[in-house]
Symmetry: C2
DNA sequence: TGATAATAGTTAACATGTTAAGGAATGACG
DNA sequence: CGTCATTCCTTAACATGTTAACTATTATCA
């Protein structure tokens, strides 16, 4: 059996990369002004939404790998955006908390960020936008169980 | 006006990352056996589809940034997967060509790669799969003009 | 209890993503 | 022809992605 690959123009991995580029462009533009990266923004958003979390849970919810989060956390601690302490019950665990400065950063840019989301929603239309999220979720291996 | 951000679970950027993780997982598993990375695989696929290309065009079609491609090309040249030469007409340009070894690698793994694509197509269903590609394309800023 | 496995994170090493600056060749124009 | 902007690409610097090895702590179980 000799199967053929789709054209690169209809390749799912490449389409996902390009879509991400397109979505991230205006967001990155906004983040430039904040001085933090896309990943650091995700960390703040997750902490702001869920409160203090241990490293594993945070990594999972922000879709970051452990080693990345270890480095990012160091950077963010130095910037005063988060604080870290050991869990007294299980001393292997690190508990990460958002600081006031971190929360302020979120608050300051929530509107602008939300506007960008609205833009994409309008580009696709509400119905398509929701369907896109549904389809993407089906490709996500973690979507079967709720995240830790 | 105080807008609110969507939950991180319905955030488009995060959904795109997670979907990409899901799609890339089996592909990366396959690529481990080949000894090349996902990006190097993309370069080979584009060269195999379009023939020799200059660096700019290749970067564009493989969705790679220039600096990345510069490094990747060095690696791949050392592995004997591609060859590079200057364009005689415009000596700023590098022309990149796939080697026999590179083409063999593509040939050896085309079937396996195509099977993975089939898997995702079946997961979503043909219709949804095509619609997903269409929606993703709408988020791609480069989709308005055909790529260089 | 004491050896061993499992868990939570970190560190290391290499590749890529991202932005900015730099170098070489070409093009435009007075 | 000479200057200057433009184009194509490379280098540099820092952040993240990815895999593997390693440390510290906790759980298991004979």
């Amino acid at each position: 059996m000799t199967s053929k690959l789709p054209n690169t123009s209809r390749s799912l991995p490449i389409a996902l990369i390009r879509a991400r580029e397109g979505v991230m462009f205006p967001i990155r533009e906004m983040l430039t002004k904040t001085g933090i990266t896309e990943q650091q923004w995700r960390v703040l958003r997750v902490l702001s939404e869920f409160g203090a979390l241990d490293t594993s849970t945070l990594a999972n919810r922000a879709s970051l790998l452990f080693p990345s989060l270890t480095r990012i956390a160091t950077t963010m601690r130095n910037k005063g955006l988060i604080s870290q302490k050991r869990d007294d019950k299980d001393r292997r665990r690190q508990i990460i908390t958002i600081t006031e400065a971190g929360q302020k950063l979120i608050d300051d840019y929530t509107d602008q960020s939300a506007q960008i989301v609205v833009g994409f929603r309008e580009t696709l239309g509400d119905k398509n936008y929701e369907q896109l999220l549904d389809l993407l979720e089906q490709l996500d291996p973690g979507s079967k169980q709720p995240r830790a």
